[in-house]
């Protein structure tokens, strides 16, 4: 487990890890810089939100002019989401201050007044809501209908030498996604064991993120699609995050997702 995207990026480059979950623009940027990786699947859809202080003056994205907004990385979907929302309200990026922060620090930053808002993935919006500090200004889907954030990235040498292992991983993710979408009780069950074993956070927090409402995070349509990534790539190019428009098949390998489409949901008994 890592605490920030720069660390996971370095671990992937150095082969300390062979597969990583990271924000899509970071994966696109790394590949455009020649790092031998490929996106093989999505982690989820939606799951990010803009959060402001509960009793603060910000009521629309337009009210963010002149304010400080926390983001996980300038190479993040959250940064692109903020850009889209601000632009819709006639605010340019140079009229706000974007501050990169590790996800775990944003709720505290908002409470302390260091931030006026943050755009982050769950469970940090939920954390602010549950603490009575933050209020959801908008969910990602309001400004980005097919929003995607974290993607599954594999090293190219692993894809080449061990495609079967990558397929097992992607198949497992597909089955888990189907299982989570099948029934609300599955999300509550996942909140319990993921909270304890992997996130080291209270299960009640994850339960809030996964069920309040269920559409807050979706685990369907996880195959990488060219139109989604072309949009991200084009916006990254417009913002100067990449210096050329890298082609979809240079940074995405769709074979694993295509084979995973035949997967079915996990069948777990009460003892597992």
């Amino acid at each position: 487990m890592f605490q920030g995207f720069p660390e996971i990026k370095e671990a992937l480059i150095s082969d300390a890890i062979q597969v990583g979950f990271m924000v899509a623009p970071m994966a696109v940027a790394l590949r455009s810089q020649g790092v031998p990786i490929k996106i093989v699947y999505l982690g989820h859809r939606y799951g990010s939100a803009m959060v402001v202080r509960k009793d603060g003056p910000v009521r629309t994205a337009g009210d963010l002019r002149g304010r400080v907004i926390g983001i996980p990385s300038r190479f993040s979907d959250e940064r692109l989401l903020a850009h889209k929302a601000l632009a819709r309200h006639g605010v340019s990026e140079d009229q706000v201050k974007l501050v990169e922060m590790p996800p775990a620090d944003v709720a505290g930053g908002l409470e302390a007044g260091a931030l006026d808002a943050f755009v982050m993935g769950e469970p940090y919006p939920a954390q602010s809501e549950m603490a009575g500090i933050g209020r959801i200004l908008f969910y990602a889907r309001e400004y980005w209908p097919d929003y995607m954030s974290c993607v599954v990235v594999a090293r190219q040498d692993v894809i080449d030498r061990r495609p079967d292992a990558v397929q097992v991983l992607v198949d497992g993710l597909a089955r888990s996604g189907l299982w989570l979408e099948e029934d609300l009780s599955h999300r509550e069950r996942a909140a319990d064991f993921v909270g304890r074993q992997y996130f080291h956070k209270p299960p009640a927090l994850l339960r809030w993120s996964l069920t309040n409402p269920p559409e807050r995070i979706e685990y369907r349509r996880l195959s990488p699609r060219k139109p989604d990534f072309d949009m991200v790539r084009d916006l990254m190019f417009e913002l100067g995050l990449i210096d050329h428009k890298i082609e979809f098949d240079e940074y995405v390998d769709v074979r694993f997702a295509e084979r995973a489409e035949f997967q079915t949901s996990w069948r777990l008994d009460d003892k597992s």
Binding site: F5, L12, P72, E122, V166, Y198, F199
Partner: protein, 52 residues
């Protein structure tokens, strides 16, 4: 037993027990064993951040 020898044995015992405890609690033995395997037989290590 001379006091100096007693001190030496005590310090050595302390060092050994603390080092053993550290290795037991903090050393990633599973990761170490995984690295000793041939590359094509190692478990893939998947990194994540606790955020969507």
């Amino acid at each position: 037993m001379r006091p100096s020898r007693r001190v030496f044995l005590g310090a050595t015992g302390w060092l050994a027990s603390i080092s053993s405890l550290h290795l037991w609690l903090n050393f990633d033995w599973e990761g170490y064993r995984n690295k000793q395997m041939p590359k094509d037989r190692r478990k893939l290590i998947v990194g994540y951040i606790p955020v969507t």
